[in-house]
Every structure is written in C-alpha cells, then in structure tokens.
Amino acid sequence: MTEQIAADPIVPERHEHAGVQDPGTHHSPEHIKKEIRVYLIVFGALTVLTAATVFACFGLKLPVHYAIMVALTIATMKGFLVAGFFMHLLTEKRLIYGVLILTVVFFAALLWLPVHDVIDKF
C-alpha cells in the first residue's frame, strides 16, 4: 500500500452505545500518548527484571530452593506488568474479571494436585 493516509484520530470524542462506554478505543489523543509513555516505562521495568532474574539464578547460581523463590517472584511481577498494563487488565470490565477468577480457581486446583502429592512425600 503506497498511498499516504492522513493522521486522523479515530474518535476524539467519547462514543456511547446504548449507554456503554468502551474504554479501549475511545480515549483522547493526549490520553493515548500518556498510555504510550506508560508502555515504554513498563518495557524498561520488564527488561530490568529479566536481567535481575538471569543474574540471580544463572550469574550467582543460587541453590535451587532460593532460585525457585527468586525466579517465580520476579516472573510473577513481570506477569503482573504484562497483564495489568499491556493487556490493560487494571481497567478492564467486570465480566472479564469474572472469567479470569474462574480460570484462576481451576488453574490453582490444577497446580495444587501435584504440589499436594509432593508435600505428602515429605
């Protein structure tokens, strides 16, 4: 596609459809530019956390029990940043929270089964 398409924000004003606002697509250009700055800060944080986990587990060669604690704590922090900001879960609709709470319950049960088995051995 060679033609130049003029920059024109999709919807500067807020759209309402049957009384519902969509926070995803209908923010002002200033708000979107602010979001871009947040994305770049999160990128920096993810980079630092990745370097930290590699340094702690691979560089320092921590014993496995400490390495598990450090690596999974940092991975959880990184997961929070990706889900919260990139997937904008921090400002998402209640229905999605409902779906995810159900998923977390089943996921926890799935992980609890083997962990319970491991604990029983000790």
């Binding site: 969509d22 995803g24 871009i36 691979f58």
Partner: protein, 208 residues
Amino acid sequence: MDAHAHTAHHAEFEIPYTVHPRPDTGLYNGKLGIWLFLASEVMLFGALFSSLILIRSSAPSWPRGWEELNVPLATVNTFVLIASSVTVVLAWANLRLGNFNLGRLFIALTLLCGLIFMVIKAFEYGHKFELHHYPSTSNFFATYFVMTGLHGLHVVGGMIVFAYFLTFGAKMWKTERERFTNRIEIVGLYWHFVDLVWIFLFPTLYLL
C-alpha cells in the same frame, strides 16, 4: 428481491457488536471471545506446568536448566518477546491515534520479533539435535521440547495473523477503521499471553 429488500436482508444478518460494546457485557464481542479463548489456553499450559512439577518432583535427579540449555540465547529471546509485546501495543495505540503507517510499521516490527524468536529457537533446537538430545532422551528434554514446542507453535500462529493484518487484512482500515483497530487489539491480547507464558517458561526450564 429488489435492491431495497436486499439491503434490508443484508443488514439483518450483519454481525453485531464488532465495534461498539454490547450493553449487557460492556465489551465488543471479539474481546470477550479472545478472553474466553485465553482462559482455555491458561488451562492448556497449566496442565503442562502441573505435569512438570509432578515429573520433576518424582525424579531421582533433575539437571539445573543452565547445565543443559543455552541461557544467553534464551535471555536474548526473552528480550525479543518483551520488545514484541511493546511494539504490538504501540501499533494499537498509533492506530487509535489514526496513524496508520506508523501502526503498520509496529505490526511489521512485531512480526520481525516473532521471526527472530523462532530463528533463535530453531538454532537452539538444532544444537540439541546435534548433541543427540531428543524428547525421548530424558524426562527433562521431553518436558523442554513439549513446552517450548507448544509455545513456539503459538508464536507461529500469532505471526500468521500479523502477516495477514500487514497485507490483505490491512484493507479494512480504508472502510472500517475502528473494527480494524479492534482486531489489532485482539491479536495483541493473544500475543501478550504468548509473552506471558514465556515469562514463566524461561525461568522454569532454563534457570531452575
């Protein structure tokens, strides 16, 4: 059927809520759909992580990841995937600002990151095969190949979708800007999930 009746018939079967949110869910349908899909994906990868815990804890001995796998290469891949998560949100943000060309550039960069990730992964796999390390070699390599292989398939799936939106799918921008932007948001959510899985796979397999 005259032209007016044909138009009415066509409008009747138009898929609703592809752009604007449904009043009851507060979401456009595609967004709810992708989240339900991602919920099923959590269970898919969750089953594999659960199996890994069980297999590893039952094994008489288990190598540290860095003894068998290439940590520097995997670290580079982690940065590449994180960078691709940023490029895809920047693509979405620029499309919302009406900057199609910039949005398209970031979609292309995301695709490039996916390609780099897969090339590095192929190099890593190739080296393992040279050393005669296959899924049948040990439980460690079985879990390594299954989990990274399934994750790699997800990366390829995302790349195919990005390639479509970069080429044929981009035509929608001319007629339905918001719908096209929503599509990038949806594939972006999928891509972030793929990144999220790698964020946990990387330390679990390579560093512990």
